[in-house]
């Protein structure tokens, strides 16, 4: 019985998930260690704050799959969607369009320029993303971080065609690797824009 004890505990511990990103308890504890260490070395100075103290804690992983997905779409200039409850989002991952439903497995996805569609009931909102990252957490929270996100109806088709032609020409006449890479990026983005307008 004694010998079985550790094994039972080990299996129990393996199932017990360490509180981490979905639970703030450990993080504040980590913070307090930092504060203690700081106070020992710099007793006369207040310790600096860390980003955790400015964040609202994330909800823990629920035991049943929730009915709605919480989406945060953030850009450097704005939070387009913050904590919006939706049914599904389709993100343009670099491996193709990826649909995310509530209860999706935790994923880190690199995004390529393309369309993000947010499905809420019957309405679908489409945004053209310039690229970034998408995190899906196990508590059905999806964070999408992009540099630019414009609603598709605000894209001007004539400018897209012009840009595409210009970058293709630049790609053909590019000499150095850097120029080629830049022109290739331009071509990719504009063709994605084109596809977004037509598709």
């Amino acid at each position: 019985m004694m010998r079985q004890g550790p094994r039972v505990l080990l299996s129990r511990a393996m199932r017990w998930r360490r509180p981490f990103s979905t639970d703030l308890q450990a993080d504040t504890a980590g913070d307090s260690k930092f504060i203690d260490a700081w106070k020992k070395l710099n007793p006369n100075m207040d310790p600096p704050k860390t980003p955790i103290s400015y964040m609202k804690p994330r909800p823990p992983t629920p035991s049943t799959i929730p009915s709605k997905l919480t989406v945060n779409l953030v850009l450097p200039y704005d939070s387009v969607l913050s904590a919006k409850e939706v049914d599904m989002v389709i993100v343009p991952a670099s491996t193709g369009q990826m649909g995310v439903l509530p209860g999706h497995v935790a994923t880190i996805a690199e995004l390529k320029p393309g369309i993000l569609s947010v499905h809420e009931g019957n309405e679908v909102n489409k945004y053209f993303l310039s690229g970034g990252f998408a995190f899906v957490h196990s508590n059905s929270v999806a964070d999408i971080i992009a540099i630019e996100a414009t609603p598709v109806d605000r894209i001007d088709p004539s400018l897209v065609q012009k840009g595409l032609a210009e970058f293709q020409q630049r790609l053909n006449s590019a000499s150095t690797d850097v120029e080629k890479a830049e022109a290739q990026i331009g071509v990719d983005v504009h063709s994605a824009l084109n596809a977004a307008l037509t598709g």
Partner: protein, 415 residues
Amino acid sequence: MAMAALRREGKRIAVPLISPNPINPLRSTLASSQEQTPFGVRSISTQIVRNRMKSVRNIQKITKAMKMVAASKLRAIQTKAENSRGLWQPFTALLGDTPSKLLIFIVYWVKGNRTHLKAVGSSSQLPHVEKFETSNITSKCYLPLSHSVGPRDYFLFVICGYADVHSLSGAFVAFQLENWSYQCAIICPLGVDVKKNVIVTISSDKGLCGGINSTSVKTSRGLYKLNSGPEKECKYVVLGEKAKAQLVRDSKKNIQLTLTELQKNPLNYTQVAVLADDILKNVEYDALRIVFNKFQSVVSFVPTVSTVLSPEVVEREAEAGGTLGELDSYEIEGGETKSEVLQNLTEFQFSCVMFNAVMENACSEQGARMSAMDSSSRNAGDMLDRLTLTYNRTRQASITTELIEIISGASALEG
């Protein structure tokens, strides 16, 4: 009429008064105007006080104008900074916040078939760890007792200064403590230990903004002390003239890179991305610690430190199963290998965190400048009041003196 003439005379006499001896501005104006009067001049000069009043009034106008300018710049940049606050939150939600270099352990143990936690070690008490063996229950560890906690409570104690603790994850240890004997305990590291720290200090280029640059530099120096030790190195990357001037004085050889004139053009993400790229290319790092002043309100700025770990450290910690242990459970989409995606992730994280940090610091700079200029103009107003009183007293004293002389002269002629 006589007084007007005398006052005009006072003005004419004032000119040779000023040139011979340079007036020490720290001495009282009244005393100096009286001492400077050479023999033969009858009126006390108010010129000196008048000059001071003019200069103080100009200073007041200038500082008021600077306050208005800072207020308008703050209004422009504040909305942008607040909008950029959502940018770093997903990264902190995913990767956590690891400011500490110490390793923290959660110990959860059982006695028999009930769970009891007997001892609580506070972080300042370092338990004496004799020996750890990862395979067998052989070691003994003596912990200072403070109080007993209920079953299933977690508690933390700190072991620091341990050479290679990564092999300890998942270790079993037996504790012998008073009359209790503990069968096993699971230890898993919580903090992150890094060797190469780079402290990115963000400050302003222009002065007259209160104490925010000094607090940033003090915080950076504190972090440097925290992260320096054997086998660890700590370097600075400095953004902004003011921090550079302060850090060059004592840490010149530790400064790796300095960047100035950030705010020449209005701040935008592209510029900061290029900056971040520059830093990442030129600096070797395990952890980047960005020190800036977070803008809480127009009068309150909080020094903050954000941490960005390098992709190798993230992978190592994810495998070791500590703070970032859950990262392994995430599926990776895109890219050829996991390490490529992690590298893109950390670079993106760095540029996002830098963007937010630079905007918040710019806001704090304008807010601090507003309050500094406001108190400066208030002080100038106070000084002007005091000088006005002095001026009036001087003026009235000179009039009275002239009157007395005239009247005594006239009465001497009569009588």
